[in-house]
Symmetry: C2
């Protein structure tokens, strides 16, 4: 690796900086990415700066060059995750690439295996946590408006499959968003095939880091990528188009349902549990309260999405927590037809209480009798 970094330095030709310097097919890809970004964001919102989550792999390398050629002056942020012996050398490669791009560069080292132990997480989850924590710190430090990640269409198809396997509902099943305003995330390559990225890199003679963990079958995503996806693409060679279609439909439905349930979500308040909802007299406990009047008039398809959002709010405040659709159906049955007080225990540590005033989600564990 050290040798390769040296080579990088020796060969360090300047990278293309403008669309006009690119071969025609590469320029076309850049323009397609720009159109995609503009379909997500009005042009003005991108006047601010973008921080690229830069691993040095194929996707983020292409992303950095594309944004650069589109005149968006990206900064690069590289997390040295300390998972492999090569990770320091990779950080050097990343730094040298940033130099060739004349882009500001941030890096940080964290031993993900330690974090996994501390937080009691799998390596895959700990790596993700470390990455997003670092990126958010880096974004604040640099004052960037957006964190851009290299996720592309093949990643999206894998994500859809993983969601199908886990049992995600709709529109979640459509896969990761290209724009996440809350986390300030942007995924400009989400409509671009991996193969197009490879072609782009090859045409520009760009080097990239091969991450050997991409073939590690301990990671769910890799098993999906190497076992499941090839079968699906044998059955339908145009499956990536189908995945993109599904994603677009999901985004459309998501924005529709968000509009419908927004007033109900706005009515959720932190409140103390009413005496009625406690089986034994006890100190009043904090909870999220979704008042009945905020959702009872909605159609069932909307009510279920309101419950889901309440549970997601609770999960964010309390750590883990989720619900199967089957639970949501029973909860709804109870909300609309039930009498008296009913308790629901959800996977994770969450619970729900249905009573005359609506639904409560206790913010402390010991409320369930």
């Amino acid at each position: 690796m050290e040798e390769r970094v040296m080579k990088d330095r020796v060969m360090a030709e300047p990278l293309p900086r403008r669309l006009q310097e690119l071969p025609r097919p590469c320029a076309r890809l850049c323009l397609r990415v720009r159109r995609f970004i503009h379909s997500l964001l009005p042009e003005a919102s991108l006047s601010g700066s973008v921080l690229v989550a830069f691993s040095g792999g194929a996707d983020s390398t292409a992303l950095a060059v594309i944004l650069h050629c589109l005149g968006m002056s990206p900064q690069l942020a590289h997390l040295d995750h300390g998972l492999r012996a090569e990770s320091r050398a990779e950080a050097l490669h990343a730094a040298s690439f940033a130099q060739r791009l004349n882009a500001p560069f941030l890096t940080e080292r964290i031993v993900v295996a330690d974090l996994a132990r501390q937080e009691n997480l799998g390596l895959e989850a700990a790596g993700r946590l470390a990455r997003y924590r670092f990126l958010e710190r880096a974004r604040r430090e640099t004052g960037a408006d957006w964190i851009a990640t290299g996720h592309q269409l093949d990643d999206l198809c894998e994500d859809q499959l993983m969601r199908l396997i886990r049992g995600t509902g709709w529109p979640g099943l459509g896969g990761m968003p290209a724009l996440d305003g809350k986390r300030r995330l942007l995924r400009p390559l989400l409509a671009t095939r991996r193969s197009e990225i490879e072609t782009f890199l090859a045409a520009l003679g760009l080097d990239r880091i091969e991450d050997p963990s991409n073939s590690d079958a301990r990671f769910t995503r890799n098993r999906i990528r190497h076992e499941l996806l090839p079968i699906i693409r044998r059955e339908n060679p145009a499956h990536a188009d189908a995945g993109l279609d599904l994603w677009r439909l999901a985004r459309l439905d998501e924005s529709y349902w968000n509009g419908i349930i927004e007033p109900a979500l706005a009515a959720i308040r932190p409140e103390l549990l009413p005496a009625e909802a406690c089986e034994r007299p006890r100190d009043a406990l904090p909870a999220l309260h979704l008042p009945r009047h905020a959702f009872a008039h909605l159609p069932a398809a909307a009510r279920l999405r309101v419950y889901m959002a309440l549970i997601r709010n609770g999960a964010e405040l309390r750590g883990k927590g989720q619900a199967r659709a089957e639970t949501l159906f029973r909860l709804d049955e109870c909300c609309m037809n039930g009498q008296g007080v009913k308790y629901f225990q959800l996977p994770g540590q969450l619970s729900l209480i249905v009573c005359a005033e609506g639904v409560y989600l206790p913010l402390e564990r010991e409320i369930i009798p």
Copy 2:
């Protein structure tokens, strides 16, 4: 096979006729199936008779016995599809089983391979066509209200995967309905696992026909079943629950969207193409007309579903035809922002014309310039 049919006759013990005669777990399964049927249909609608699509395989054998024990007096209809040497013997087995159940029995022989050639279809599709044509004839002949098929939860999960692979949107992705009023189809076992059916048959010592074509890798469904599903179930052993959840969410959304788009669909009329929509002067041609006022005020998520339903109507009148979501998005863009007349060619033989009056779907091919 002849030998086996003889054995059936010799052993022909009467089958259980009432819930009370069943072992407790079998009776519980029957009651669960009854609750499922009642969740689809008000009790009164089932006072009429039911025709079971009876192949003699595990699913339809269990279905016949379950409906019988629930007091629904099913009739059995068996299609001898002439695909295998054993198919005549299987028809005899089916007849003998009906006799043991004391159920009216209808059968018919058709050589599916001939039909496939005549209609230019694959064996899988020709088999399906032959089956549903026969069942509909049989239903009319017997005056039955519903055709009940043995599709169960594992079939449903396979169906969802096939739809994901094909690129089906939402709520279609949730899989086959349990109730199809138009085709008079009922799928009472759709929430029941294959393994539960096996246990049921074993507990009652019931024989069934093993269909060797179930392991024939020429059929898409079998490849899904034997290659894809095992990987998915290794990743999530509770995937069947997830599939059922997805199905329930899809049914809920389907009924929601049907309510929203119904008025728009009711406004679709067969009409002659206006001169405006023809590039050259020609005889007026018949088309389906979706008037602009019927959909333009709807949200985008609903408009796309209206176009989809229009295309489905057209496909029913003209044979094949479908549209990718991407086409629907472009069509919508054109409907809402476009000027002048635009033509869309769809896969299959369908086309659409967008003009000031709305959308036209020509019912003859040569309209597209």
